[in-house]
Point group: C2
Chain length 352, copies 2
């Protein structure tokens, strides 16, 4: 039988680490004692999320970020996460990365994570894997997702810094980014910046960020400029924020950087921006807040998992089946059924 000790993981045993991650991916309870033993260690790694539409060159960018971080002497862990909804074909990012020449580098650990089971569980599993990589001594942990759906957003939210990758010529995908994903980006990248239209994409992203900031600031649907923000302040809009200096406010917007991942152009600057974001977030307390939110989400996910497990055990499982039958037959209403099932659950041991 395969085993895996916390000491092995912490001591750099890659096979122990791989086994632990497999357990976490599968929700195997064997992971629990190992993770509990590893939890005593303080968090050290910087966690970087990378997301963006398919075709934006995320994999190549991650490849070059790995190389840049290695140049600076850091060890790098990579989790390529595919929250495989039935609708993504599922390019196996991790495999692609492994082929790009890091396979023999002991300072790099690359792993694909597939979604087993429910979507909600992917981000919790990813978070646990991040903690395992952290304990194994990796300095940077890159979390890359396939696409930009809701589950991908949930996954990258666990990162300390989120890189949102756009690219010229995807037209509609920029619209996709517009629609709501903007808020999760801490650093924006326009990749393939040697293509026509890169500067236009940069401008579009800036405009979106400024508009979003203006809306937040004063609920006025216009682009934020020093002028419009000053007007807001003059008119007492942006309640409770009249002390905000518009120049400082605009300077606080996430940076937008151009890269050509194929050649590596712009990648050192990107890594610098990521490091700067992390340092700033650490100083302001924003990082602590984000990690608190992450911890809360992970606890809740474990609690739900335990309750789901309890629902599949007797007596809840049997009672649930008969309650569902009564609801389907129309002899019982669903609220009454939920009430009864909760009572059964409360009387049952929850969790191991």
């Amino acid at each position: 039988m395969e085993t895996c000790s916390a000491a092995g993981v912490a001591g750099g045993d890659v096979r122990a680490l791989a086994r632990l991650i497999t357990w976490l991916e599968n929700g195997d309870p064997q992971a629990v004692p190992v993770m509990r033993a590893l939890a005593a260690r303080p968090r050290r790694a910087q966690v970087i999320g990378v997301t963006g539409p398919p075709g934006s060159g995320k994999s190549t960018l991650v490849d070059k970020l790995i190389a840049e971080a290695r140049k600076r002497g850091a060890r790098v862990g990579v989790l390529a996460v595919d929250p495989s909804s039935p609708f993504t074909g599922g390019a196996i990012l991790g495999d692609r990365l492994r082929m790009q020449g890091h396979a023999t580098d002991e300072g790099v650990y690359i792993r694909s994570l597939a979604s087993r089971g429910r979507l909600g569980g992917v981000s919790a599993a990813t978070q646990a894997c991040v903690r395992a990589l952290d304990a194994a001594g990796y300095d940077y942990i890159l979390v890359e997702t396939v696409g930009v759906g809701q589950s991908e957003v949930d996954v990258v939210r666990i990162a300390d810094t989120v890189i949102l990758v756009a690219v010229p010529g995807l037209g509609d995908d920029i619209q996709v980014i517009k629609a709501g994903i903007m808020e999760i980006g801490d650093v924006f990248v326009v990749n393939k910046a040697d293509r026509d239209g890169a500067d236009r994409v940069v401008r579009e992203i800036r405009t979106m960020l400024e508009t979003a900031a203006a809306l937040k600031f004063g609920a006025m649907p216009e682009r934020a400029t020093v002028d419009t923000l000053s007007t807001h302040v003059m008119h007492g809009i942006g309640e409770g924020q009249a002390h905000v200096d518009p120049h400082a406010f605009l300077a606080d917007l996430p940076p937008v950087v151009k890269t050509v991942a194929e050649t590596g152009e712009g990648v050192p600057a990107l890594l610098d921006l990521v490091i700067a974001h992390h340092a700033k977030a650490e100083a302001s307390g924003a990082l602590a807040e984000r990690r608190l939110a992450g911890a809360r989400a992970e606890i809740k996910s474990l609690v739900s998992g335990r309750i789901d497990a309890a629902l599949s055990e007797e007596p809840a499982a049997g009672r649930e089946a008969s309650l569902a039958r009564a609801v389907a037959d129309g002899t019982m209403d669903v609220y009454g059924a939920a009430h009864e099932l909760l009572a059964v659950l409360k009387a049952q041991p929850l969790g191991r």
Copy 2:
């Protein structure tokens, strides 16, 4: 204060129905006594899900299905559901439908449902709204979704019959359908069938259905034909299914029908196929099974909702906050935190 009685809803009071649906949409507890009072009534309506990629003409198709059902003397309820992930712009389907001339028809009730809160909740809320429309005496309840993402799939799963709409010329979207959504379709439509390539799309869908069936039958990656299936049976592949008649097996595949929603062409045939699917599913017990699964999902969703609510009340809320802080600080492991939180939850009243 606005009120709403079960008798009003059951008696055809449209304003009472509208209010009840708003409560269900918002998760307002005022809905509970009304829904409990309505639960005693047997289910009568036939629930039809309509899904497919944006641009496939779903809205026009739904419009024409309404007209066809009205011609046959049936009353029709429509729920246009947008599980608004941040990434759908969210065309407001219900509004578009209302403008198509059913607004003054008392035999038609059209309503858009937005996603408030968590994704998991949309399908449960939709299911509750379907029950409200059923109690209000609508014969057909159409549930239309904006796109074809995971949450849309979850929503249409609650239908008795799912219509999956494809269209020529979307190329990639057919790929999307290929990837995994096929299994939820009970009746396949190739809409805009007056366009070039409609027959090719019909053939592609048939091939996919046959291949999927062949895989299920004998785990052989080839298209199912009477010949290949007979070969499977001869070779003892398709274990335990040697008694299956390949002709009957292929006849059992979901039908594929061409429509031109703009002109109404093919829509009567489509409604006939939907009705036939329903009758067959009722006779075979498949419908009862599907409704049982729906009831189970709805109960579970309510149970999770109650637990979430309990988590936001004292003492769990306070304990959760301090546990999350301990996990984020690294002074406690997440498994221990989940264990403690579960103990607090068990000691706390769950649900109203």
